[in-house]
Symmetry: C2
Subunit: 365 residues, 2 copies
Amino acid sequence: MATGPLLLPNGYDGTVTDATESATVPASTKRGRGEKSSATIYDIAKLAGVNPSTVSRALSKPGRVSAKTQKIIEDAAEQLNYQVNPFARALPTGRTQTIGLIVADITNPTFFDIIRGAETTAAARDYTLVLAESAESPETEITAARRMMGTVDGLILASPRMDDELIRELASGKPVAVINREVDGVPCVVPDVNKGISEAVRSLAANGHKNVAYVAGPPQSWMSVRRWEGVQAACEWSKLKAVRLESSKPTVDGGRQVARDVMDSGATAVITYNDLLAIGLMQELQAGGMRVPDQISIVGFDDIFGADFTTPPLTTVRSPLGECGSRAALLLLDLLLGQAGPEGTVRVETELVLRGSSGRLLVAN
Amino acid sequence: MATGPLLLPNGYDGTVTDATESATVPASTKRGRGEKSSATIYDIAKLAGVNPSTVSRALSKPGRVSAKTQKIIEDAAEQLNYQVNPFARALPTGRTQTIGLIVADITNPTFFDIIRGAETTAAARDYTLVLAESAESPETEITAARRMMGTVDGLILASPRMDDELIRELASGKPVAVINREVDGVPCVVPDVNKGISEAVRSLAANGHKNVAYVAGPPQSWMSVRRWEGVQAACEWSKLKAVRLESSKPTVDGGRQVARDVMDSGATAVITYNDLLAIGLMQELQAGGMRVPDQISIVGFDDIFGADFTTPPLTTVRSPLGECGSRAALLLLDLLLGQAGPEGTVRVETELVLRGSSGRLLVAN
DNA sequence: TTGTAAGCGTTATCAT
DNA sequence: ATGATAACGCTTACAA
């Protein structure tokens, strides 16, 4: 997907429908008086006839103030439509009630499940999610991580591309959780590929396949290596031959581009690093006249949204991505609340989702 | 200028270029536990032999100090591995270098594109994206919006469910941009449905359809109303009958549930509020033995990821969602930088994407 | 239980 | 050009 169209230069070619001249000034830059800007604890204190510090206590740590004044203060706050200023609060405390999430590629639907899981869980605990992407680039990732570390209470790295050492350094400053990769000394959430892969390979073997190709993901991807190892092991166990093919990028387009290599490999079954590759590959193979799964079986990874819309629907090893995001957020939140959970790696199960893109070979090879 | 490098928390620098590790340790404050705190402008001031305010000037508005002291200060900052404290900076200025985005439903792929567009554009301008969802609930949306208003420089509301008045109220505090809805006095980015819809309806009419059903979205959805109006107008123009059907929710599942009503309506062509509904509807109709498009044509809205994976691939009126997100972010950013763009609505074009789910009726009704 | 006051790190408004 | 100093809104010992 081209990012070009997204980076629009400063030009509005849209139709302006507002007939009235712009009257009201947003008053965005000025602060202080004049503006009906948010009330402070001082305003509340005045209205409630108490000291600002009492207001602070009542609003931040309930219980440290008498029930009576508590109510008075809360009413006053309500009346003034009070909103805490998170920055003023963060200055003394260092806490911001936000957690950061950095994903490798916003373009990739895989990460949307993760984002969703993390956001939902964070919101449920009254935390806000801050999002950034690394565009599959270690440098961009590091930059984003550093910028975020200043503003968030904790950070989730989904499929990080940076060095282990760098991750540990980040983790030494603030709580960090990693998804889709295992880093020593850092809490991680990792789908355990073995179950899903062995199910997939067993299924392929049972359908008479002998030669399996694995289409790899980005070189920096820890998960891609793990999956390849899993495929190798499972193929060995099932007495199948496995070859590894490179892809240019882990996208639908990358899948299309690798179709030729797949054909040349002589494999009758392909397992791809992710569903996007699988979908692109299938499209290209079908466009070239191949019948799936009669002539070639295709198995993806992740079970992203839309994987079951393809023709035939995609067989895939499902990773519970939403759960990963949620678990990582939970890990972080527990860490933040001092309830240090288990330091080790959280493993979530994978499973084969058997659909139409894999099956018995109908044509002799 | 990138603020990234300045935001490095202490000891986070992975690419250490400084050989002298033992360099002066910044005056560590007694805050909390023995956490290694960051250097402040006071530390730099002391090291550079200047006043803290001079340091602030040098680091925030280059050009207000002499070139000589500028260099001295920058060197000292470098040596101390200084990073600005965003909270401290935000307190007097109110600026946070972040923009907020609230979407109606994180689960809905429609918003993925919007999120992507907004994040990409924001990141390109060195802004960070803060994300929240309203879960289609006006109340949740307002809560999230209020919470966010405190922490962000500007807010994007994608398909907001709250009242116009509330939106204007929010907009009176800080820059707000709205996507998929038109609110008087607030900058909006709205796909202009007319072109796409008239193309769609003309196509249906050309294929012999007489009765069209529109499956509506959530009642609060401004866009749903707009689309229905568009469908009505276009049908009238083409001399087709149009009926409106309710859906329980704008999801794949909601689409399945509305299948019966669609059948009962006697329509031979259906236009749904969004692609999700269309996909669910198509699945359910096909499961019930209907052939698409031979017996019934289906047209969706948005052209979300995966819309072309279905069997047959989905005909849909494409909204440039990514562009919407990007434009909204741009609008906000321009507003923030004082380059107030046009106050009115930015309209982006829609177009019919003709695929296999719509076509000529093969069975007499 | 509540009031007092000292920060938190920066920016902004004065002087100088 | 640079130096003091007062905000910014909130938390938190420390008193009362």
